[in-house]
Symmetry: C2
Subunit: 118 residues, 2 copies
DNA sequence: CCAATTGTTCAATAACTTTTGAACTAAGGA
DNA sequence: TCCTTAGTTCAAAAGTTATTGAACAATTGG
């Protein structure tokens, strides 16, 4: 049960930019970045939208090559594809995250501690 | 006859990313960047679409704060708002332009020399 | 086995974006 | 003044994206 991800060389600049041009998805990426590589499951983003809606946005991020989702039990553990994005578009992710870092107009995740059932 | 532009501090990250997430607009930005600050008029982008369609895309770029348009006679001279974007989102524009620089999937402008009627 | 948890899929709808042609404005040159 | 050039605006059509709720699948714990 592995989910489809583009290879690094298949990641497209306009698609990545388009995907990041949505406040909810930008907030997801910012929160993932703030967690420094620690994988998160979907439920930890529920502040940003309904379960169905997050499933949609997380699929967009994964299909664009921005995130990786690994199936662990009933959870999908999500990480940023930092190294892959840096290799393909040097500096892009860092500048986006830095720019998003201090934007009060973006939605934010509360940051509850959640036990993962795996 | 000046056109509306956002102030530097009004430029929004998700809006800029969304606007750049379109191959035509990314090609416009890339071509402007390749011209190193030399202003271009709309007609010089006609390789990328119809006159009406370019008017639409150039308005999007201007309203997002990515470009500046100055009215000179019947022309709109268009430049990248490099300094403003660098001030607001350091490194972002450079990494986008670098990433777009070698993308054969993006449309391109021929680069005809055109006399400007002003 | 049963119930709870995690997340997906589907269909519907609403909202937005892109593209087009026709009509228009405004300035410049003959 | 009349014609051309440069670009906008408008309304329509087409296409895409976001959001929702109901139903579903898969796994885990009791």
């Amino acid at each position: 049960m592995t989910l489809p991800h583009p290879n690094t060389d298949q990641i497209s600049l306009p698609i990545v930019l388009g995907v990041l041009g949505d406040p909810t998805r930008l907030a997801i990426v910012r929160y993932l970045a703030s967690k420094q590589g620690v994988p998160l499951n979907c439920s930890q983003f529920l502040d940003l939208g309904s379960k169905t809606n997050l499933s949609y946005h997380l699929a967009k991020l994964r299909e664009a090559g921005v995130t990786r989702a690994e199936v662990v039990g009933t959870n999908r553990m999500i990480t940023l594809r930092r190294a892959d994005l840096d290799a393909r578009f040097p500096g892009l992710l860092d500048s986006v995250i830095a720019a998003a870092g201090d934007d009060p107009a973006l939605p934010a995740v509360g940051g509850h501690d959640i036990e993962i059932h795996a």
